[in-house]
């Protein structure tokens, strides 16, 4: 079953086409990796899907229902969770409170919402930090916080923006494990990644963007052998 189908999505800022006619589909229970150099329009794509930015035109269907033009809170209410590239924790609140704000969506009772939040915090392996303020956590821990918070709304589709970006090497395997565990629990995932090895390891499909255009879409193997991708992305990546 298709969970998300994006058709001809476009958005320009000033004269620059941040997203130009992008189309792809995501099957339920799979992971779609989105790659592309800086400024390729990856985060814009997330903003368009989740309603943070209004698309100029195109179509976004979620379970065959058009969600194009809905506000972000309505879209998240349908079961689309997301994290942010520039992290947005509720800084003056504890980790537990952060996650509880998410778990309130499905759980009205405060005690039950607390317990559910604790389970998710345990899932992302931060249970000992539950009473720490978000501003006191490390970057890696805050990424987990954002994942936990997004998971707390019980999303069917989770959009993750650079989970492993800006995190030290030691913590990356743990985060990757987490993504796999999430997938096993039945959540469909779209993830933006800079680390090509991770993408190849976890994704079922990969979408490659360059300068706002979709240049390739297919299995990790196909993408790895795609000339255009190698030229515009993998090539520079290796050189760097």
């Amino acid at each position: 079953m298709k969970i998300l189908s994006v058709k001809n999505l476009s958005r320009s800022f000033g004269g620059i086409k941040a997203n130009d006619n992008i189309s792809f589909e995501v099957e339920e229970g799979t992971i779609l990796g989105v790659i592309g150099p800086n400024g390729a329009g990856k985060s814009t794509l997330f903003d368009l899907i989740t309603g943070y930015t209004k698309a100029d035109n195109g179509k976004v269907e979620y379970f065959n229902k058009n969600i194009f033009g809905l506000s972000p809170d309505k879209i998240s209410n349908l079961g689309v969770g997301r994290t942010f590239q520039k992290l947005k924790p509720f800084a003056d609140q504890t980790l537990l409170e952060n996650v509880m704000i998410g778990s309130f969506v499905k759980e009205k009772n405060i005690k039950k919402a607390r317990d559910k939040a604790l389970e998710i915090i345990d899932f992302v392996d931060l249970i000992e930090k539950r009473h720490h303020f978000a501003k006191e956590l490390s970057t890696g821990q805050r990424k987990r916080l954002e994942m936990a918070r997004a998971m707390a709304i019980e999303p069917k589709l989770l959009l993750m923006d650079e989970v492993t970006g800006g995190v030290d090497q030691k913590t990356i395997p743990g985060l990757v494990e987490l993504i796999k565990k999430l997938k096993d629990s039945g959540v469909t995932i779209i993830t933006i990644e800079h680390n090509i090895n991770i993408i190849m390891e976890i994704s079922d499909n990969v979408l490659a963007l360059d300068q706002g255009k979709s240049i390739a879409y297919g299995s990790p193997k196909e993408i790895q052998q795609n000339k255009q991708v190698i030229n515009s992305y993998l090539g520079t990546f290796d050189a760097a």
Binding site: T50, Y52, S71, P72, D73, S76, N77, G81, R82, F84, K88, P89, F90, A91, D92, Q93, T94, E97, M100, I101, G102, F104, V105, K108, I110, K111, A113, R114, D115, L118, E119, I121, D122, I127, E128, R130, H131, H132, R149, A150, A152, I153
Partner: protein, 337 residues
Amino acid sequence: MENKLLIAKSETLWNTDNRVIYLISGLIILLFALPFFGLNSFYLHLFIMIFMHAVMAQSWNVIAGFSGQISLGHGAFFGIGAYATSFFYIEYGISPWISMPFGILVSGFFAVLIGIPMLRLSGHYFAIATLLIGISFQVVFQRWDLVGAASGLWVPMTAEDSWSALQFHSSKVSYYYIFLVFFIVTFFIVWLLSRSKLGYRLRAVRDDPQAALSLCINVSNYKIIAYVISAMIMAPMGSLFAQYILIIDPDRVFNIEISIIVLLITVLGGIGNVWGPIIGASILIPISEYSRIYLGGTGGAVDLIIYGLILMIICIFRPDGLISFVPKDILERKKQR
């Protein structure tokens, strides 16, 4: 691993130190008993002013501290409450006890009316708009003949003390108890609010509206809800104040000073904290009342000089307010770290 989760789940939801609970219970009993020790009228007045301003500041705390929107014109709702009771009593003889809820509703209605367009604005835009709102109310009431324009309303005095007319001339003790009950009830309501689902969501809106949107929170609706609650807490204080002084005019009840002092009290005590307004009011109001007695008559601005100074000093050195001197784990659990 499972063990840690179980331990975490076995924690109580809230862990306020028992000493705090004893202290508060003791204070409440003391406040109820206080008039029996024969307080003179000045001290009764002082306490009444502390209760009133603590509630007003608590109202501001809901919109600014919980949902993060800085209103600089909160006096408007105070004035609406004051005019609602006085006007209906003078014109139709309706008891303030009946018109007070009406004033609360009108305040809430205006909060929705103002909030829908204005709470879409963020940050400075909202602050400036509310500053204009506060002054607009003053300007309109100064020219509105139905409610006495600039000379305001004079509530006719009853011959003797009357609960139905909410007037007590023989002693301030009844006022003391009325304000005290409102103070405790309001405090309790806001305390519940801060621990409710709504409280959590408002703090989410304050800390990061973008992230709140991704958690199914309709940010503008929640801001409006906070604004309405805040306005509805403010209005009855206006009503009671009008009954307390019996003469109201636009320069008194819509004065920008009201908007200033609620902000000052909250920031001094600790913004976003239920206790902040109480601490702030207990410190500032005595300063203001004493300075009025000992330094008054020189233009009456001395207390404002002190206010301004305190506000700047707090912003520089203690942006979290005086409450930040109290160790956190006494008020809420931050243990097991």
